[in-house]
């Protein structure tokens, strides 16, 4: 593998957990709900996927259960915020704290155990092609799934009637309610989808990236995913761009260090954040369009008026 190929392969792997989590949160936020519990849901997804992987040895089942666990966590959030109408910000933060603790406790018996990584795709001659082979045809299956899901979410949000309904609920829950949509029900579904995606993003780490469980192994990726959604101005395509950019600069700064660039590592570690913010801010300078794209009722508690 040439240097560029190796770089791109590492970049895609680094971006994938963020891509899952951010795409899920985008749908949640489009429906007008702000769930700050992404980090907690990712950790629960990771520990569930790992334990299922250890017990059954089936990585596909493990990924699926990771997604389910993430969704289950998000339903706790949904119940508190949508049914009991608690503050979304406070509940989301609590969900993260809860997820960190609960995953650590579930994972206690799994520290120090290795598992097999997910088998990577291999198509006889396509995967052996120079350059595009390793990048396009030799990834693990979850990488392809993440890109497919971004496309599916884009299509759902922009091209389907149901997507329009989700957006309507996020723009004005009062209006959506007035014309007869079940605001709370739709938001439950959007939150659960976000939870499942966060769970998958978490599951990617122990299944395909670093095949082990360690407490707090997401190391803040949930927060980065949350930030990506805002900087991508709630557009799936830009979430993809942002995640790959973040992953790319992360790998690039490590390469620069190994090449002996004379720059403080603290600054280098900051670069991915800086670059992603700068680029996404630059491509969305049009303030009016951002305001149009941001769900107007995000984070607001819905009290149905009779």
């Amino acid at each position: 593998m040439s240097g560029l190929t190796a770089f791109l392969v590492s970049m895609i792997a680094a971006a994938t957990p963020l891509l899952f989590a951010a795409t899920g949160e985008l749908v949640t936020e489009k429906s007008g709900v702000l769930n700050l519990g992404v980090e907690g849901m990712m950790l629960i997804g990771a520990v569930t996927a790992f334990s299922v992987g250890v017990v059954t040895g089936n990585t596909w089942l493990a990924a699926l259960m990771g997604a389910f666990a993430g969704a289950a966590m998000s339903l706790i959030f949904a119940f508190l915020t949508l049914s009991l109408r608690a503050s979304q910000v406070a509940t989301g933060l609590a969900l993260t704290l809860f997820g960190v603790g609960l995953s650590a406790s579930i994972g206690q018996g799994y520290v120090g155990i290795p598992i097999e990584t997910m088998t990577k795709l291999h198509i006889s001659w396509l995967s052996d092609l120079p350059f595009i082979g390793p990048i396009l045809f030799s990834q693990d299956p979850l990488v392809y799934l993440s890109v497919i899901l971004v496309a599916a979410v884009w299509w759902f949000i922009n091209c389907t009637r149901s997507g329009l309904v989700v957006r309507a609920v996020g723009e004005s829950h009062e209006a959506a309610h007035a014309i007869g949509y079940n605001v709370v029900g739709i938001r439950y579904l959007a939150v659960a989808f976000g939870g499942a995606m966060a769970g998958l993003g978490g599951a990617y780490l122990p299944l395909a990236y670093t095949p082990m469980w360690i407490e707090n192994m997401t190391a803040g990726r949930g927060w980065i995913a949350l930030a990506l959604v805002v900087f991508a101005t709630w557009r799936p395509g830009r979430v993809l761009l942002g995640a790959y950019l973040f992953g790319g600069v992360t790998i690039l700064q490590l390469h620069a260090q190994a090449l002996g660039f004379d720059m403080p590592p603290q600054f280098m570690s900051m670069l991915p954040y800086l670059a992603t913010i700068v680029v996404l801010v630059l491509i969305s300078r049009d303030a009016t369009r951002i305001r149009l794209n941001a769900p107007a009722d995000i984070g607001k508690v819905f009290h149905p008026q009779a």
């Binding site: 593998m1 240097g3 190796a6 770089f7 590492s10 680094a14 957990p17 508190l80 009991l84 109408r85 608690a86 503050s87 406070a90 509940t91 933060l93 609590a94 969900l95 704290l97 809860f98 960190v100 603790g101 609960l102 650590a104 406790s105 206690q108 520290v111 120090g112 155990i113 290795p114 990584t117 780490l205 990236y209 670093t210 095949p211 082990m212 360690i214 407490e215 707090n216 192994m217 190391a219 990726r221 992360t250 790998i251 490590l254 390469h255 260090q257 190994a258 090449l259 002996g260 660039f261 004379d262 720059m263 403080p264 590592p265 603290q266 280098m268 570690s269 607001k300 508690v301 009290h303």
Partner: protein
């Protein structure tokens, strides 16, 4: 803001409290038994331990907790111990240390660098309690410091690496550019270049102790840039896993990581705190405890090497075992002259060795390390 009613606020608070309480119960392996006042028995020595991570981190904290258990075993019914895990450095640490001191503990071990100032602060308030701070440099009447000479293990690793590398490039992942980590890098390269002067080290700083995915990224990058041996001074086994996946070598850190990389791990540098903890608790029992600084290596049994990989040729194994014996007996020193720094300046002449003062503040690279050390 008309939607925020008292009800929502109350519900939010209840939600946060319930979730936090459940989390606390689940995480709560905290051994509060020893913290209950009145539970103290005069005839037993009570030892308290403050940990920065969870006891099952398979690394730093795990090794300290193993040390605690060794001491408990050695001293039998004469001591009892309490530990508090995952205590963040700073204000929270001060509260935990204070609580341990106030609840009848005779000796308290604080096992992370960031506990230095909280330990000293609490020690002032409890002159009759003994405190032991790991890896720090500030002492008091009742505050001793202790650390292990991990770098001696790096010397052994450097010798093996020099014999095993084909690319002549060692990829080194550091957490932060502090003397502790720099000593390890320098010790590795000094030992390696005595055998093979063409060996160089490429260094990448992860800027974290704990982020397995990022540690894995760093390992990939170093292998992509031509290294065939990965060494890391971060907490997880992720770099070893990458080495295993790519058919390269690695050296484990803090604990034996061969479970994750049975083929790739050449050896590992393992911390051993048990004998030290036993001695110090015994000294409290006997009334002979005094403050001081302990910095022990292979000879003191505070550092051990994990079993050497069977793939290492027997003459290299013999060479490594010889180095271990010489480091123990003192005929070999990790920082024996001549040592030149990156600019080619002779730092210490043949026949002399760097003293502990220089080692404690080491902020420069020796010749053979690529790049410049961030200041």
């Amino acid at each position: 803001m008309k939607h925020i009613t008292i009800k929502t606020v109350v519900l939010a608070i209840v939600a946060v409290t319930v979730a936090a309480a459940i989390a606390a119960i689940f995480v709560g392996k905290l051994d509060w038994g020893g913290l209950v006042p009145g539970a103290a028995q005069i005839d037993k020595v009570k030892a308290g331990f403050v940990y920065v991570g969870p006891t099952n981190d398979n690394g730093w904290t795990y090794r300290h907790d193993q040390g605690r258990l060794t001491a408990e075993k050695a001293l039998g019914g004469e001591m009892e111990s309490t530990f508090v895990e995952t205590v963040s450095e700073g204000a929270a640490a001060e509260r935990v240390i204070q609580q341990l001191a106030a609840s009848g503990h005779d000796i308290i071990f604080t096992t992370s660098f960031g506990y230095m100032n909280p330990t000293l602060k609490v020690a002032k308030r409890f002159p009759n309690v003994k405190f032991e701070h790991a890896t720090g440099f500030k002492r008091d009447e009742n505050v001793a410091t202790y650390n292990a000479r991990f770098y001696e293990g790096r010397t052994v690793a450097g010798i093996i690496a020099a014999r095993m590398t084909k690319a002549n490039v060692i990829g080194y992942i550091g957490a932060f550019p502090i003397p502790e980590v720099v000593r390890g890098i320098n010790a590795t390269i000094i030992a390696a270049r005595r055998i093979n002067p063409n060996v160089i080290a490429k260094v990448v700083w992860a800027n974290t102790w704990h982020d397995p995915a990022k540690e894995a990224d760093a390992a990939k990058v170093l292998l992509d840039q031509g290294a065939d041996i990965i060494m890391q001074h971060t907490d997880s086994a992720a770099p070893c896993q990458i080495a295993q996946e790519r058919g390269a070598w690695c050296v484990g850190q803090a604990a034996d990581q061969s479970a994750f990389a049975p083929k790739a791990q050449l050896t590992a540098i393992v911390d051993v705190w048990g004998p030290y903890y036993t001695d110090r608790i015994k000294a409290v029992m006997d009334g002979t405890w005094t403050s001081g600084d302990t910095w022990g290596g292979l000879a003191a049994g505070m550092v051990e090497m994990a079993p050497l990989n069977a793939a290492i040729p027997s003459h290299v194994q013999a060479e490594a075992n010889m180095a271990i014996a010489d480091l123990k007996s003192g005929t070999l020193h990790s920082f024996q002259g001549p040592i030149t720094d990156q600019s080619g300046k002779l730092v210490i002449m043949m026949g002399e060795q760097l003293d502990d003062g220089v080692l404690a503040g080491m902020d420069w690279y020796v010749q053979g390390v690529q790049g410049s050390l961030p200041k």
